[in-house]
């Protein structure tokens, strides 16, 4: 999958993820945080507009969710934490400073696990995860810009990874794992498509040249808002750095990092600023807020109420249910699918068959209808019932698909559907043998072909039997009886 080993250089990647927390209200005011799709400047108040005299009041839920995220990422929650002002002027930042956290973030020193390029588990370090407020949005017109402050003040968690990823595929695996964990922990819906999650990605290349390890300064690619953009931008920028080095370009003399943007239209990065031009944010403690001292009881309470994390759950699915890693991964990728699976198994269903029906038909139906798992119309118990019918060979796989479709359409239970439509599988040998006799006499040519050595002619006869029994005959019995009678 990866070509990293074929490259003459290693890519070093660290990712800063900005993700909006799933709170109802904003970080420092009571306005609704559900800004996506709302008419501009309808979710605003003096606080999130930065009007003179307005003061921030911290959203307790956002602080709890931040700690939940940190604990899910195996972070420590320090005993003392505080908010700071990050000063810079821009029209989408109404106060002229962003309330953020500088030297005492809510979470430090964590990790998450991905599958590395060599196929073994790899820990990616989390340096810190801190809480801040989102900015408004600029809408650019011809010769003017408009500001929409609906997003201003929405709680944002910034998760800073260590530069532990060594390839584009590891970067994508990290982003996926992070997304999965935050969704699982109930911290965020991680809606990249709505701009509610963004990546700033630090990319550098490392290689040996003239017997020395070279590691020229990195590029920070700002504001990547999809996994596709992440993949393309990192691929492009690492390649560009290498080519620049080979060509004896500016990277050979540059001492500090640069900040670049990504243009999906051109498929290229573009220079935003050099370190020398970097802004001095003049951080200082936010005097409008008091310092926080999360009690150890609170931290332990949050830790004990954390749901099982995806990597642990995956490992458990493989060990406990004998699933393939692939199936476990798909099931765990969505908490609802995982719950459906475990619910059906708890109701007595065979684990592997259940997994197949979720990763197969269920996902196909969701995809074709473009709906989320929340809209699956049947219950875990109903799925268990369907799996039971299949395993006991009361219906064939083909019939089961019809029953499944009927379950989706009518929301009836599978046993009721089978009974109602008379779909129960026929396994009675005598009944099947009489149909086989009919087919052998009706399809003389196929019989002659088969006996003449064309084994594929058996399929035509098999199809004939299944057709006459409307698919209800047990296919294994049909095959055995057919070969016996023809043999």
């Amino acid at each position: 999958m990866t070509v990293a080993t074929e490259r003459p250089y290693e890519i070093v990647i660290g990712i800063e993820t900005h993700v909006e927390l799933g709170t109802l209200s904003k970080m420092f005011c009571p306005c609704s945080a559900r800004w996506f799709g709302m008419p501009p400047n309808t979710l605003v108040c003096p606080v999130c507009l930065g009007l003179p005299g307005a003061l921030p009041v911290p959203n307790r839920r956002a602080i709890e969710l931040s700690m939940t995220a940190g604990l899910a990422l195996h972070c420590e929650v320090p005993e003392h934490t505080k908010f700071d002002r990050k000063n810079y002027m821009y029209p989408d930042l109404p106060k002229g400073y962003q309330i953020s956290q500088y030297d005492l973030p809510l979470n430090v020193k964590g990790w998450l696990e991905i599958t590395g390029d060599d196929g073994s588990p790899k820990r990616i370090g989390i340096i810190r995860a801190h809480l801040e407020e989102d900015t408004g949005k600029l809408l650019h017109g011809d010769g003017y810009s408009l500001v929409d402050f609906n997003r201003s003040g929405v709680p944002l968690l910034e998760i800073v990874s260590a530069p532990d990823m060594s390839s584009v595929s590891e970067a994508l695996a990290y982003a996926d794992a992070l997304r999965e964990i935050l969704i699982h922990a109930g911290v965020s819906e991680f809606r990249l498509e709505e701009g509610a999650a963004r990546f700033d990605t630090n990319v550098s290349i490392r290689f040996r040249e003239d017997g020395q390890v070279r590691w020229p300064p990195q590029s920070e690619i700002k504001n990547l808002n999809s996994l596709r953009a992440l993949e393309q931008a990192v691929t492009f920028e690492s390649g560009r750095l290498w080519e620049d080095w080979q060509a004896g370009g500016e990277i050979r003399t540059r001492k500090a990092k640069i900040t670049v943007g990504w243009s999906p239209e051109t498929g290229r990065t573009f220079l935003q600023r050099r370190k020398e031009e970097a802004e001095d944010y003049r951080y200082f403690p936010e005097p409008d807020l008091v310092a926080l001292a999360p009690s150890r009881e609170t931290v332990e309470h949050i830790r004990s109420s954390l749901p099982e994390m995806p990597s642990e759950r995956r490992a458990r699915f493989v060990a406990q249910y004998g699933l393939s890693d692939y199936d476990a991964r798909i099931l765990v990728s969505d908490p609802l699918l995982a719950a459906l699976f475990e619910g059906a198994v708890a109701a007595g269903a065979d684990a592997k068959t259940t997994a197949n029906w979720i990763t197969g038909e269920t996902l196909r139906f969701l995809r074709e209808r473009s709906v989320r798992a929340a809209e699956i119309p049947f219950t875990a118990a109903q799925l268990a019932e369907l799996v039971g019918l299949i395993v006991k060979r009361e219906i064939s796989a083909t019939i089961a698909k019809d029953v499944f479709a009927e379950m989706w359409a009518s929301r009836k239970g599978p046993a009721a559907i089978v009974t109602e439509k008379g779909l129960r599988q026929v396994s009675d040998e005598a009944a099947i043998a009489s149909v086989v006799d009919d087919v052998i006499s009706a399809q003389a040519k196929a019989v002659a072909d088969y006996r003449g050595g064309n084994k594929r002619a058996l399929e035509a006869l098999f199809g004939g039997v299944m057709g006459r029994t409307k698919g209800k005959a047990d296919p294994q019995v049909v095959r055995r009886v057919l070969t016996e009678k023809l043999g």
Binding site: P52, G53, A54, L55, P91, V147
Partner: protein, 490 residues
């Protein structure tokens, strides 16, 4: 045109129907309009008359609070819904807040009648009220002199008898110093006692709202309405507010009062020192034990203050960018629009402090300035706390000088800043402080400052009221200047 009475006088007159809130409001509006000291930026006539009519109705039901119908003036840095709020800055030209500050809402709730908005140093940055974009305020005791600042307009509106009380803000002495220089009571509460919500922020960790009044009792009555936790200000304390008038009549007998020796420094005017020493003797004669104490870091306070205050201000004033409200001077691009707007909108002193503050917070200087200042701030707090282990309150001069001439110090910011040396340590520590009149020097008022431990405003009022009861200084009026009232002699 009689002057405004005290709250108690007004409450009695209103309840006996000798006057009405509407009549009082009309008289106050007339006095404000006739004001000769440039104390007012807005006289909110219609607003005041509407409030007065509502107050009259409430009084007629027989169930009105003490402040109902009492005319007051609001420093124009405190936001008032539907009434222009400028902070005496061009940058807020035309800004009408869509909401009122919590302190204004609380006074509205009491039925008090806001007559208008008063002049101040731009964004409260100043000690003389000469930094207003709308011209200096004159001291009614001598119109060629400053009234002090930054709440100069509010101080004058009370000192000149135009309203019964006024609200100011005090970041380094901006209530107590003008109170002293205009001969009235000016008080800064403990940090965290009064909501800052809706008050245009200057230096967030230092700012507090407080009243100007004629008497200590009036001050306690207004504080009673202002004090208390506000869910909109995370720095207000969740403390019950006790009856602030409880100890007004207790006297100081048996109290231990500290006199910090560092507050009688070179540079204090002899007449000021004389008046303050006489006041201390008066308290001693009433039975207080006077004890000299030491606050060794007092002379570091000015340095600490001029790091922390401009640093916070530099961030607080970043929001004036011409994008959402106030002045906007269009340029060819965004940065140029910022520069032109802020260049035209802010006055010299505001720019000076933003540059100071930006510098102090910059990479490479932050530790040497801001971090060090915060450490010294802690030392200053600890020194006060140690002293309050020995004494119940401190008594000091409020200002080293009486009112000085307009223009006398404008070209020497450092001299101007020195005017606050006795008041700003109180803000740095977050303590409550009050200035009360203690006589005249060269015919101009001198203030006595009483500083109390955290949340001990009632103790502070007790000392101030004991002194006030025994003396007549608070009854002196600026108009009496021509008749040369007796000076305090040592």
């Amino acid at each position: 045109m009689a002057e405004a009475g005290t709250i108690r006088e007004i409450a009695a007159a209103l309840r006996s129907r000798r006057t009405s809130a509407s009549e009082l409001a009309r008289a106050a509006i007339a006095r404000a309009k006739a004001d000769a000291y440039n104390a007012w930026l807005v006289v909110a006539e219609d607003h005041a008359l509407v409030q007065a009519r509502a107050a009259d109705e409430r009084i007629s039901t027989g169930d009105a609070p003490l402040l109902c119908g009492v005319p007051w003036a609001c420093k124009d840095i405190i936001g008032t819904k539907d009434v222009e709020t400028t902070a005496a800055s061009r940058i807020l030209d035309g800004y009408v807040p869509p909401y009122s500050a919590t302190v204004v809402e609380r006074l509205d709730g009491e039925g008090a009648v806001m007559v208008g908005k008063t002049n101040l140093d731009e964004f409260a940055m100043g000690s003389s009220n000469e930094n207003s974009a709308f011209g200096p305020v004159h001291n009614p005791w001598d119109p060629s002199r400053v009234p002090g600042g930054s709440s100069g307009g509010s101080a004058v509106s009370v000192a000149a008898g135009e309203v019964t009380f006024a609200l100011g803000t005090d970041t380094g002495g901006s209530i107590r110093q003008p109170g002293a220089l205009t001969g009235i009571v000016g008080m800064k509460p403990t940090y965290g006692r009064v909501s800052r919500y809706g008050v245009v922020a200057f230096a967030s960790s230092l700012d507090q709202v407080g009243p100007f009044t004629r008497t200590v009792e009036d001050c306690a009555i207004v504080c009673q309405a202002l004090f208390g936790q506000d869910p909109s200000d995370a720095t207000t304390m969740p403390l019950p507010v006790e009856d602030l008038r409880r100890d007004l009549d207790r006297g100081v007998k048996g109290m231990r009062l500290g006199v910090p020796k560092e507050y009688f420094i070179a540079g204090i005017e002899p007449g000021v020192e004389r008046a303050v020493r006489a006041a201390i003797r008066e308290l001693e004669s009433q039975g207080a034990a006077i004890e000299e104490v030491s606050l060794p870091s007092t002379d570091s306070a000015l340095g600490v203050y001029y790091i922390i205050q401009p640093a916070e201000a530099s961030a607080n004033l970043a929001r004036y960018d011409g994008v959402r409200f106030g002045l906007r001077v269009e340029g060819p691009d965004l940065v140029e629009t910022y520069k032109r707007t802020r260049g035209a909108g802010f006055g010299a002193e505001v720019k000076r402090r933003m540059i100071l503050g930006t510098y102090a917070l910059s990479t490479g200087y932050y530790d040497a300035y801001y971090v060090k200042a915060q450490k010294v701030r802690t030392v200053i707090k600890e020194e006060f706390e140690r002293v309050f282990g020995k004494v119940d309150a401190l008594v000091t001069p409020t200002s080293p000088t009486v009112a000085f001439g307009i223009g006398a110090k404008v070209n020497d910011p450092l001299q101007m800043y020195l005017n606050d040396v006795f008041t700003l340590p109180v803000n740095i520590a977050g303590l409550p402080g009050i200035s009360i009149p203690c006589g005249l020097s060269e015919g101009l008022p001198v203030g006595l400052q009483v500083i109390a431990p955290y949340y001990k405003e009632a103790t502070m009022f007790r000392v101030a009221a004991a002194y006030e009861r025994a003396t007549m200084h608070h009854t002196l009026r600026p108009t009496a200047r021509d008749s040369r009232p007796q000076e305090v002699r040592s």
